[in-house]
Amino acid sequence: MQNSTTRCILGMVGTDVHSKGLKIIAQVLRDEGFEVIYAGDHHTVDSIVSAAIQEDADLIGLSFSSTAYVDYTLEIVKALHERNADDIAVMIGGQIHPDDHKILYDGGVGGVFGPGFKMPDLFAFVRECGARRRAVNA
């Protein structure tokens, strides 16, 4: 029951068409008890951030298989900050290269789930984001 009040919005930014993995993650998170807002693909930075704010998501999950993910992700973090939504965490998954982890974490990304990540780690992270925001709001 705890999980069901954690809201995670999943989406893809840019012209990447590989949304199949993200759909699986959406269902897997649902089966773990989380509420997933599936925002789909071909978002701009503005549209995914707007969606996250309207949905008051605890976190945004982004999936990438193209190589522009560092730029897009950091822009999203920046946009969240500019729109007073710093408390919405950002996690990314997909073809994330280990060399980019540092710049992503330094840039404010909370979780990086590249190839070979383990589901329990993902669940723990999502759960933690929900719990953290509930604690802040209480």
């Binding site: 649902r30 509420e35 997933v36 939504a85």
Partner: protein, 305 residues
Amino acid sequence: MDVRETARLISRVESGDEAVRDRVKALYRQGGRARIVGISGPPGAGKSTLVDQLIERYRARGLRVAIVAIDPSSPFSGGAVLGDRVRMARHATDRGVFIRSLAARGALGGLTAATGDVLAILDAAGWDIILLETVGVGQNEVEVMRIVPAVLLVQNPGDGDAVQSVKAGTLEIAHIFAVNKADMAGADKVARNLQEMIAHKARQTSEGWEEPVLLTEASNGRGMDELVAAIDARFAFLDANPDLARREEKTRLQARIKELVTQHIHRRIATSVKNGGMADLLDAVADRVQDPHSVAETLFRDITA
């Protein structure tokens, strides 16, 4: 109230946060301007596509549109995938559109109460049109439509759906019917069936209001102007018949208030009967030492004392 604040308030109301109760009370009293339209129907009828088209038309009129899209929660895990906003993605950057997805959150109940509060928040926040979209599968999802003055039921042209709607009770709560995907075989037949069922209804949904049955193809916009006109006509009807409108409003409010009272009772029971007290009571009834009525009377006395 900006978008962020609205969204956060909605979250707190959704999770039953009592701390915002006073705020919500005040907001209700400030509201009453927004036109609220409910859209329900079986899965696969194309509701979200239809809603997307409605948004386009209302925006063309300069109206600010809020959408609340309710999807069922998984009965097994309690989680949900809320995928309605994808169909309305083209409005994602329009600042005159606000889309919020809600999960029905199953056993926690109180969907009607929470939705009522969400509508009150959006109404007070200045949205001109509020579209409430639900999948008409469960009793909860059907019930929530009772709080809305204009209900649109969207049907598939496939067989059997018309029968389904009778079972679920949606026939009695809808003011407008749309058979979507009307280019498919069977659409005319479904429309005729609906017209017959409406003519033979035991009780009218809204006295003096004739429920239109429309054919639409939301995917290409056909029939959508007529649908908007039908929704306009519904509100015009209510404006032209203020006494009737008020009676109906009061009936709707009664439903909401009843559910709020029920929620209060449940909460009080939960807090007052602690430490396995409920389990003991249930044991007594199972052993036939006590009976269900007596236990209920005792509980009620305790919480209202």
